[in-house]
């Protein structure tokens, strides 16, 4: 269970959100600039809020009033940022293995890397260097690197924006099964409302730094649904 009350200013932008996420998979939905990345960075511990606290599974990750701040690497939390920040001087295997612990069991190591890469469909990229990957390949490797650490909490910031719809859907499905089996709570920022439905995820709707709604997609995206369906039908019509 992830619980937080956060208050953070970035220039004119003001993020002020307080909520409790209990679902296995939460989708943070919102337009460009709504504050999705800002929120995830705070949760991951990459930034500090001006005020507020974050607790996950009973552990306090951030508590400004109590001067508590747990380092990003200690939160049991993995974060796939919007730009896949792969280490350019390491090949894909070394990137994926970077966060794996303990570091003394080579077979365990290699096993985890293979599992993670297979899951994202990047098994043949082992020896490549990041600059030799396509945009979508880099994103998949970044996801593999995050799940290889076996986090308790996984934060994803538009992780499949460089993949086409079918590929992203297939990947999400596989990922969902794996994460469920491994008991990982996931929070994913996206601007694809359809993802929420496909995943059967809880939806947190961000608007301008506030939480506009929280609940199942059918409720939260009621308005949005109209717009999306009409657009989808339009397109479907145009396609025909």
């Amino acid at each position: 269970m992830l619980e937080f009350a956060l208050d953070a200013r970035r220039g004119a932008f003001h993020l002020e959100i307080s909520c409790r996420l209990t679902a296995e998979w939460t989708v943070i939905f919102g337009h460009s600039g709504a504050g999705k990345s800002t929120l995830l960075r705070l949760l991951a511990g990459l930034d500090r809020p001006d005020n507020g606290r974050i607790a996950f599974g009973g552990t306090i990750l951030t508590d400004i009033a109590a001067r508590l701040f747990m380092a990003p690497g200690r939160r049991g939390c993995a974060f796939v940022t919007q730009q896949p920040a792969l280490f350019p001087h390491m090949n894909v295997r070394s990137n994926v293995v970077y966060g794996v612990r303990p570091r003394n069991n080579l077979r365990e190591w290699m096993g985890r890397v293979d599992e993670a890469l297979a899951l994202v469909g990047a098994s043949d990229l082992h020896d490549r260097y990041p600059r030799d990957l396509s945009g979508g390949e880099a994103q998949r490797v970044a996801v593999a690197r995050a799940i290889a650490v076996r986090p308790k909490l996984l934060l994803l910031d538009e992780p499949f924006s460089a993949l086409d719809g079918p590929a992203a859907d297939a990947l999400l499905d596989r990922l969902q099964v794996w994460l469920r089996n491994n008991g990982v709570q996931t929070v994913m920022a996206t601007h694809e409302a359809a993802d929420a439905f496909a995943l059967g995820a809880e939806v947190a709707l961000l608007q301008d730094g506030r939480l506009a709604a929280l609940g199942p997609p059918q409720e939260v995206l009621a308005q949005e649904r109209e717009r999306i369906t009409s657009r989808l039908s339009n397109r479907a019509v145009r396609l025909k």
Partner: protein
């Protein structure tokens, strides 16, 4: 060519460079990753050895390490002889004098590493030590080479500190730079030209080897795809 002096010089420069990298890498990491305002002061102090003429720095070290200070007497009590006029003394002097040549480029190199990558490593649980070893050092490789080259070459050519602190003892403190200086002072220009030519020739070869491998030109500048 005084081969004894030649190998002594290589040993001195090599050791000084190795010690300085061991000191400068963690120090630079602290300067770059730390958040305290006092670090600006530390950074300033680390640049200071350069300001004094080497002979004067050598003189201060000579006095400090000699039997006339408590510190120096302590060292003599431990070693049985003063640090000055020994090979170890030269190493100490060279390390102090060359500190800025190592720290300055490495701090600059570490500063240039993408903060996004540092974040990514932290998220994956890397502590400071691992951050430095697996990320900062390899990504600032070019700056570390620059630091090593500056330190090594400068120690080879180092003269003032060695002159003051060394006392020109063959096999212990007579470096090639002293030999070369003495040849010039003694109007033995032919020998000086020979020594200098050999020194320059070897250095050029070593440096070309370094730069050809360190910067595979063209390839190095290849931009990331996608």
């Amino acid at each position: 060519m005084d081969w004894q002096a030649f190998f002594l010089t290589l040993r001195l420069a090599g050791l000084t460079t190795a010690i300085l990298l061991v000191i400068a890498i963690p120090l630079s990491a602290l300067l770059v990753l730390g958040r305290s305002r006092w670090l600006a002061v530390v950074e300033a102090l680390a640049a200071l050895p350069l300001v004094l003429p080497p002979t004067v720095l050598g003189f201060f070290l000579l006095v400090m390490l000699g039997p006339r200070t408590a510190f120096g007497r302590g060292i003599i009590a431990v070693l049985g002889h003063p640090l000055a006029f020994s090979f170890s003394g030269l190493v100490v002097g060279s390390v102090i004098y060359s500190l800025p040549f190592a720290v300055q480029p490495i701090v600059a190199g570490f500063s240039a590493v993408e903060p996004n990558l540092v974040d990514a490593a932290r998220l994956l649980g890397a502590g400071p030590e691992r951050l430095v070893r697996t990320l900062l050092v390899p990504l600032a490789k070019r700056s570390i080479i620059a630091a090593a080259v500056l330190t090594f070459l400068h120690t080879v050519g180092e003269f003032g500190v060695v002159l003051m602190l060394g006392g020109d003892i063959p096999g212990a403190t007579r470096t090639l730079s002293i030999v070369l200086y003495n040849q010039v002072e003694n109007f033995d220009y032919a020998a000086a030209y020979r020594t200098a030519a050999l020194l320059l020739g070897l250095s050029v070869l070593a440096l070309i080897a370094i730069y050809t491998t360190a910067n595979p030109r063209g390839d190095f500048r290849r931009s990331r795809r996608a």
